[in-house]
Symmetry: C2
């Protein structure tokens, strides 16, 4: 494809995308294809000769589009949103166009410095504690997802715990023979778990309502999913600090090593908000790393009136939220901060010869490869910068407020209708509700009817053992008329 | 931004990108900015009000562009390439435009099915073993990077090892109190390390020349970097199978549990190719999982004449290569296959209630969230599909052949010049070389002079303890004239 052909096809694709958004309400929100249907329409063998771009786009319309569940539809109320916006799409386009890889500061200084800068901006925008600013001992980085952020936090916590106290070594063998002098270019700098392996006495804690990524991270890190304790919750589905304390004290009494707590600001099932002041105080008392996962809800803190969700966050060691959920920035974009970047870097840094360079050796720069699992990294700060500058902070706030207003409006309708009940508090933009009559079967039938209609898409959870519908409002294009239509569709025939 | 404004700005951005590629040789390849210069040009506070798109693009030109190291320049010879192409940029644009998130089959069936399909195509295109096809027990998935692929392989290997034999449990405590009934929705299905934590006797193996990501993965997984054995290499920098066997046997004799070997097809320092037939036979004999990392070199197998690099791959349990390095697909895009997907899924699957759905429960579909660290995922198959269809397999082969031809041409010039010497064999598109006189200081000075000129960018490694220059040829736009100019610049003044 020549530059001139790129100009032609690229402009046609820009129009295609604009058309898509203008027509998006025409499509069934949840894809209606059967398993295997997309593959069945694709040729069995790759083409030997190149094909014209028009042939690709024809197949996009014929084969791909029916297999799309339209996350950007204003009638998408499932899971949590993964909203995007035109400025974000253009930021992603520019990132792809520049085609740079920012593993080291040197491999494109703007990738690193814009990222640090925008993450510092966000500390101000969300009113986060100053200890997360890069000017001190902390700092922020873009991870792909909240799953990677909680894993990174757990690894940093594990490393810091090892630095603070003796390791159990009775079950380990000396490793002198064939020890790792050359792999990775130098020996690891610590004697912590990243170097010598896990202490099997490590124990982590999160609530029964926490996201599955916490257990997944415990599995990946070799801590073990079963060594992640499930802390009970209160009637609002928020973690009970007394229960957390009881579990930690029992584990300590048994000779185990509590090291890590994940608190949720906005759980996935019901946006429950764990009490950070009490949890943070317990973590300080026992020397545990506190990670706060605010993947969806964090964005609400753009608005001063919702900033209370972060009360107590000054006691946290790390924090993450997803602009790719509710801040109009396309997936993937998780923002992750640590108060002490040294622990994170100790856990993840390896510097082979082929990555050595003057800027890194001088210590004058950040090399973000040491802040996450991956070595290479895309220029993701660009889309975030485009979004913040295009909307302005006031513009972002206005849209977040409107989403919360719509959710509260919907919650009011549910509460006022004798056929329905609210299943949990709705502090922000998610409403959990169910039919009072007919039990799980009736609620499941309602969900299936709604999704099969193609007019909207919502998903369920289980709260107090009962099947519960979730209406999650965060689409960039969602307006009151869409929420009103959803309610009408639900109450139709009921 | 309205759809009409998006049309206007988007088309201007398409032109900007086309212009960028037409002018790319004007920029210094390695960014010349000093640390902090990009940040210093950015305002300290985010804007309260939205700004026009023109203001953003003006800052891209004024602030961002000087901080870019131009990976797509035809004079970029550093590290390994991260090449891209116009069809790939358009694939990324379409993916951003659709804005879907493919964590489950249901959340956009086309995301999953196109990915499975294209990964099956690639098995054919590269002549990979049929056991990696999705029609059997195996299958492929797109990971972000080779670092994540080797981590996933290590986790699957760890899980399979646990399933095969008894765990050491003497240092573990029972976990009944607060055991994980609710976090993640259900208890883990295995009693392997993902559930109960690592066996501290686990030992892994890779060559002294392997990529740093292997040690990083051992650290992350809690195996411990020091429990990754560094296997010695031969005069071609390829792993010595006799040395591998000796280390495994010594570890077994010491009561340890060898479980995982990473072989490299094309090491980062010198594209050394480990002998897979011998290594694979040892892995089979001792029941170790063999992962093959062909991040850069794998692409060469598009050409039958280079397919010998994969001899013995039928003995591997997993394999990865990066289309984002040498196959014209923009970063990030790593293709990862396993012969037995059950081990991988066992290590990573968690199904909370809020992700349950009929398609998943029926077992009729793939949910790729169980194949990697992250839960959410972008529609990355789109750009790969666009690249394969736009170039055609013949078109891809032609460009790969040309890159190899250029590297061999350059290697010939080095070999024929008495001032220089080749530092390692150059089997594909990377040439390692150095000045014969003046030692490391002279070679470092040469590298610094070349990079400071802005005319080209190359990086170094250390081989046999000596500072070595690397010329890596894989840019989409790199032609013979660029390689010739690089050689002239090197031999100028020498």
């Amino acid at each position: 494809m020549t530059p001139d052909e790129f100009r032609t096809h690229g402009k046609a694709l820009i129009d295609w995308i604009a058309d898509y958004y203008e027509q998006i309400e025409q499509y069934p929100v949840l894809s209606q294809v059967a398993p295997g249907a997309v593959r069945a329409a694709l040729p069995g063998a790759p083409p030997e000769q190149g094909e014209p771009f028009a042939a690709l786009m024809a197949d996009v319309e014929r084969i791909i589009l029916p297999g799309i569940t339209h996350w950007q539809s204003p009638n998408f109320f499932a899971y949590f949103p993964a909203n995007t916006s035109f400025p974000s799409i253009l930021g992603e386009l520019l990132s792809a166009g520049l085609g740079v890889q920012g593993m080291l500061w040197q491999t494109s200084p703007a990738v690193t410095e814009l990222e640090t800068h925008v993450l510092d901006w966000l500390v101000e925008m969300l009113g986060l504690p100053e200890r997360f600013l890069s000017s001190g001992a902390g700092g922020g980085v873009i991870q792909d997802t909240a799953s990677s952020a909680v894993l990174a936090a757990m690894l940093a916590a594990r490393e810091r715990t090892a630095d603070r106290g003796p390791q159990t070594t009775d079950s380990r063998q000396p490793t002198k023979d064939g020890a790792l002098a050359a792999v990775g270019g130098r020996r690891s700098q610590t004697s912590g778990p990243s170097a010598v392996g896990n202490d099997p006495r490590l124990r982590a804690y999160t609530s029964t309502q926490a996201h599955s990524s916490v257990a997944k991270a415990a599995g990946i890190a070799g801590v073990g999913r079963d060594n992640l304790r499930a802390v009970g919750v209160d009637e609002k589905f928020a973690m009970r600090p007394d229960e957390l304390r009881r579990l930690i004290e029992a584990d300590r009494a048994a000779g185990l090593r509590p090291f890590f707590v994940v608190a949720s600001v906005g759980t996935t099932s019901s946006t429950a908000i764990d009490p950070l002041p009490e949890i943070g105080a317990i973590c300080r008392e026992f020397g545990l790393w506190l990670h706060v996962d605010a993947a969806l809800a964090g964005t609400a803190a753009l608005c001063p009136e919702f900033r209370h969700i972060h009360d107590g966050l000054e006691l946290a060691d790390s924090y993450a939220f997803n602009p790719h959920k509710w801040m109009f920035t396309n997936f993937d974009c998780n923002c992750f901060w640590v108060a002490d970047r040294a622990a994170l870097i100790n856990a993840l840094s390896i510097l082979p010869d082929y990555l050595r360079n003057a800027a890194t050796e001088a210590g004058a720069v950040i090399d973000y490869r040491d802040w996450h699992v991956q070595l290479g990294r895309r220029f993701r700060a660009l889309k975030l910068w485009f979004v913040i500058r295009s909307f302005g902070v006031e513009g972002l706030r206005a849209r977040v407020r409107e989403h919360v207003r719509l959710a509260q409006l919907f919650a009011g309708w549910v509460a006022a209708d004798p056929r329905f009940e609210l299943a949990a508090p709705a502090p922000l933009n998610l409403v959990c509700f169910r039919l009072r009559q007919g039990g799980d079967a009736a609620n499941r039938a309602l969900l299936e009817r709604l999704n099969a209609s193609g007019k909207l898409y919502l998903t369920h959870t289980v709260l107090d053992g009962r099947y519960t519908l979730r209406l999650s409002i965060g689409g960039t294009l969602t307006e009151e008329r869409h929420v009103r239509a959803a309610w009408e569709e639900m109450t139709n025939d009921e």
